[in-house]
Amino acid sequence: MRLRSAIKLASTALTLAALTLTAQPAGAADTVDPVADAKAFKKFFTDKFPKVKLDDFVNGPYSMNEDMHRQWEEKEQFPPYEFSLEMGKEMFSKPFKNGKSYEDCFPNKGIGIRQNYPYFDEKEGKVITLELALNRCRETNGEPPFSYVRDEMAALTAYMAFTSRGKPFDIKIPNDPRALEAYQKGKEYFYTRRGQLNFSCATCHVQSPGERIRAEVLAPALGILNAMPIYRSEWSGMGTTSRRFTTCNSQIRGVPLTPQDDEYRNVEYYLSYVSNGLPISGPGARP
């Protein structure tokens, strides 16, 4: 009887130990570790494209092969985003009706700070993108907000990106569980399939960069936001990050969310963070 009890006890203990051991890796897999994510993200792309220098990923499809790279170099002689850059510079320095200007809303008067956006605002508990900060600046100073997908917003962000060219993305995740949650939600959005075509952001920009989708060469996700805003020949005009996200959604037959909804802010936070260290190259030009 004693032996039977001892066997029962031992087998229960073994079962419990086995359960604990099997539960641990699953729990570990669900741990949010942005540093490890960013490392794995960079490794994935540098392994996939061993000939592409790390900093070159910010040139999107133009980094994918030599012919495309030559096209880009030629384009940069007379960049198609130049008109937008000039417009942005003029808009940025023009005071609002109350006499203040964009300079008053940003650190370092808004010059050379693009690499720090988006950031997590601990007071608000949310991600603040550059586009959102610009419109909040306008509204605080009694001006109507700009559309997030039109030329004015593209021009302002183009100018601000230009003043940060070459500076490495430096996105911080503060020691705040809400910041980590925003990052994780952004990651989830990036990998989640949606739309009738059942595509996620990763379907094109992780699984298929360098491949063609119709006439377009798909850009790698690494460094994809460093070049924003972009002039796209397909659009015959400039496009903001908001425009890029919403058109991606509609191209896969998903109803886009409203620009600067939490999901878009979070995915921008995630994508920018995993590209930390890569230089800002915006405004960019794309086919």
Partner: protein, 105 residues
């Protein structure tokens, strides 16, 4: 003789007209039920932040056919819209865990 023919034909004509009306009304009711079901499913997809553009387009086609009095066509489109909306709900639900399969680790 003519009166007798009229007396016999008139009830028949009324019967046919009545039956047509009943059929048309039934068809409109079918459309309304199918459209309401499709709208409800699409609303649920909206709460999951995963509506499809094709659902909205098919709902619009259904409405257009109904406005033109083509209720059979309208009902078919509404049912198609409901199927699309349900597929988008399934996608959103299954992706809650499946997104991890694609993650770079």
């Amino acid at each position: 003789m003519r009166n007798r023919i009229l007396k016999t034909a008139l009830p028949l004509l009324l019967l046919v007209a009545g039956a047509t009306c009943v059929l048309a009304e039934g068809s409109e009711a079918d459309f309304k039920a199918a459209y309401a079901a499709a709208e409800a499913a699409n609303k649920e997809a909206g709460s999951l932040r995963n509506q499809w553009t094709t659902t909205a387009a098919t709902l619009a086609t259904a409405k257009k056919s109904a406005d033109a009095g083509e209720f059979d066509k309208a009902t078919a489109s509404a049912k198609e819209a409901e199927a699309l909306a349900k597929a988008s709900i399934f996608q959103a639900t299954s992706e809650k865990e499946r997104w991890k399969d694609m993650e770079i680790r």
